[in-house]
């Protein structure tokens, strides 16, 4: 919205008032050429400096006047934006913080009056209950399924993305279109036939079945994203490797893998979030086999069993989101970069 020299003059300090004060040529331009504009200003900030006419850029008095006016405008906008930040932080972070606060209260403090945000004393009994009900098993299952699943998705989609980027074969366009179609169609649609499909394949109520299903569901997105990365690498690099005696597999391993590593990282992050959070496919495939429950299923079943123990539900929610939140905060910058890059390819 604003031009580059704003940033330079403000020195990134974030203090726009100082920035405005240190701009004598401009404010002077405002008062000299357009006295009405300068005089009518309520705050004296921009009219305080005067007499540095020599520094003024010749031939741009009107623009300077506008800029001077814009200073007030800008400070007003800064205030509005700060207000927006506060509202957004409150709306988006408060529920998470509140659930944490609710989970560490001793029994009964949830109902005391007046209600406090920071609990008077901390008690971990809610967590004890959640762990007694099998939280360790759910965490273990989710970890195994997520790690093996994400690894498999990468192992399947990297070669496919390579093939779509580097080979020219008949039916390539059609096949790529089909992959995109599968990416766009929601996986929720297959839950009805899923039970019979997985039973026929002998994969019902198994972790392997669920992992294979995730590979089928998540490769289209991963292939599209990785193909984008492969396409940015000039094919001359491949040719050079071929001349040096590398076959295609060696080329991929020794030459191409390094430049597409950021793409693989994005695919890994996205799929980790998806696999860890996924509920309905896992719920259908794993069925009533308690020992295989993932975190989403476990937390859901837990709350339908102990519907009124809000402290325990809060505790279960905290444990369920903690691993992802930790990873996310650690990789936040990477994550946003990948999101922006990946955003134009669906999801």
């Amino acid at each position: 919205m604003t031009e580059d020299h704003d940033r330079a003059e403000d020195g990134g300090s974030g203090d726009s008032y100082d920035g405005a004060r240190n701009r004598p040529p401009r404010s002077d331009g405002g008062t000299a050429e357009e006295p009405a504009a300068g005089g009518s200003r309520a705050d004296g900030g921009t009219t305080s400096a005067s007499g540095t006419v020599a520094e003024r850029l010749p031939g741009a008095p009107l623009e300077e006047a506008r800029d001077a006016l814009a200073d007030t405008d800008r400070r007003l906008l800064d205030a509005v934006v700060y207000g927006l930040y506060a509202v957004a932080m409150l709306f988006f972070a408060f529920p998470v913080l509140w659930i944490v606060s609710a989970s560490v209260r001793p029994q009964g403090e949830l109902l005391t009056f007046p209600f406090r945000f920071i609990p008077q004393e901390v008690s971990l009994t809610a967590y004890q209950r959640v762990f007694r009900e099998g939280m360790v098993t759910w965490l273990f299952n989710s970890t195994v399924i997520t790690l093996v699943g994400v690894g498999s998705i990468i192992a399947v989609s990297v070669p496919a993305a390579y093939a779509f980027s580097r080979f020219r074969f008949r039916g390539r366009r059609q096949l790529l279109g089909l992959v995109l179609l599968f990416q766009m169609i929601s996986s929720i649609i297959i839950i009805v036939p899923l039970y019979s499909v997985m039973t026929t394949l002998g994969l019902i109520e198994t972790r392997v079945g669920l992992i294979l299903l995730y590979v089928g569901i998540q490769t289209p997105f991963s292939i599209w994203l990785l193909k984008g990365y492969f396409d940015t690498i000039p094919e001359e690099l491949d040719y050079a490797a071929r001349i040096d005696g590398c076959n295609r597999l060696q080329t991929l391993r020794h030459v191409l893998l390094r430049p597409i590593a950021p793409g693989i990282a994005v695919v890994a992050i996205f799929n980790t979030v998806f696999l860890w959070s996924e509920f309905v496919l896992a719920y259908t495939v794993l069925g009533s086999e308690r020992s295989l429950y993932t975190i989403s299923i476990g937390v859901y079943e837990f709350q339908s069993q102990f519907g009124n123990d809000w402290r325990a539900i809060a505790a279960a929610s905290v444990v369920g989101m903690l691993p992802l939140v930790t990873v996310f905060i650690a990789l936040q910058r990477y994550f946003v970069k990948g999101l922006i890059k990946g955003s134009l390819k669906g999801e």
């Binding site: 930040y85 529920p95 399947v156 080979f167 279109g177 169609i185 499909v197 959070s277 905060i329």
Partner: protein, 313 residues
């Protein structure tokens, strides 16, 4: 002598294998085989199976199914429950599209402005918004369930209580229940729209703003005549993707209200789930799935048309 000969044959053996591998991997098929197998088994086959099921009267608890033609579809389109669900889904989807896109746009502009001006807090804001997005859907449903409980331990009712409003029955009143699911959905979904639009803002050439400034355009004029037209393609793609996302929402509502009270928050996916797994009517559930598939395909075509994907392939 003998050993040298053996070495030769071993070497040529290895050479032949390498040649074979080399020739094999010069063909795209081995590279694509795992993907093709996974897609055929876990995407294509279930979809075909859904279409087949939708033409039968299969019930989860009984054996012996018959081909019934389009009967399931006729039943579906003539039932009031289906149209009730369609209107709930429409309200949910339209509100989601409006709120996600509007909040996403405002936040993207505010963060972009903050980054350029060096304002403090833009990073924390971005992290807070994204945080909501990575929380698992079921847990989002539970977080809002706890937030909206109808006593003072529900934070929202407690805060409303301090200004003597309420307690508001957020989950037991049909209209408010739908509003609650929309709020929870917006809490999660705004991040996606924000990131899409933020990415779009970064791609607007700065010289356009400089040219507009030289022409004397003020802040609002620059937004109206430079930012908005430049963002149009991104906004369109965002709206299509948010639509697809909203129409297929399941886990969040499943955990928050489970479609209730009554059918008040029963969207497409929950309706389908109830038919198939609560009423055990697999045939009918599959018919709902096929209708949802049709809608997904339609939106995909719109998306592809907007994105001009032909050029990319």
């Amino acid at each position: 002598m003998a050993t040298a000969g053996e070495d030769d044959s071993v070497e040529s053996g290895i050479g032949r294998v390498t040649d074979l591998v080399g020739r094999l991997i010069d063909n795209p098929l081995p590279w694509l085989l795992p993907t093709l197998a996974a897609l055929a088994v876990f995407q294509l086959y279930p979809l075909v199976e859904a279409v087949r099921l939708s033409l039968t009267n299969e019930v989860l608890t009984a054996t012996g199914t018959e081909f019934v033609g389009l009967e399931n579809y006729v039943d579906l389109f003539t039932s009031t429950g289906f149209w009730q669900m369609v209107s709930v889904t429409a309200v949910f989807a339209v509100s989601s599209i409006a709120l996600h896109t509007l909040f996403g746009l405002i936040l993207a502009l505010a963060i972009d402005y903050g980054v350029r001006r060096g304002l403090r807090g833009h990073l924390t804001t971005r992290v807070s918004v994204l945080l909501a997005w990575i929380v698992p859907g079921v847990i989002i449903g539970l977080i809002w369930k706890v937030m909206l409980v109808e006593s003072q331990l529900g934070a929202v009712n407690y805060l409303l209580g301090t200004v003597s409003i309420g307690p508001v029955p957020f989950r037991s009143d049909p209209t408010l229940a739908l509003v609650s699911t929309i709020i929870a959905g917006t809490w999660r979904g705004t991040a996606f729209a924000m990131i899409m639009i933020y990415g779009g803002l970064q791609r607007i050439p700065q010289r356009l703003y400089e040219a507009a400034r030289i022409d004397g355009a003020g802040r609002w004029a620059r937004f109206r005549h430079v930012t908005l037209p430049q963002l149009k393609p991104v906004l369109f793609v965002t709206i299509v993707l948010v639509t697809i996302y909203a129409l297929n929402t399941f886990d969040l509502i499943f955990a928050l209200t489970n479609g209730g009270p009554g059918q008040a928050t029963e969207v497409f996916a929950l309706f389908m789930y109830r038919k198939a797994f609560t009423d055990y009517a697999l045939g009918e559930g599959a018919a709902v799935a096929v209708v949802l598939l049709g809608i997904n395909l339609l939106l995909t075509v719109v998306y592809l048309y907007a994105f001009d994907i032909g050029a990319e392939i």
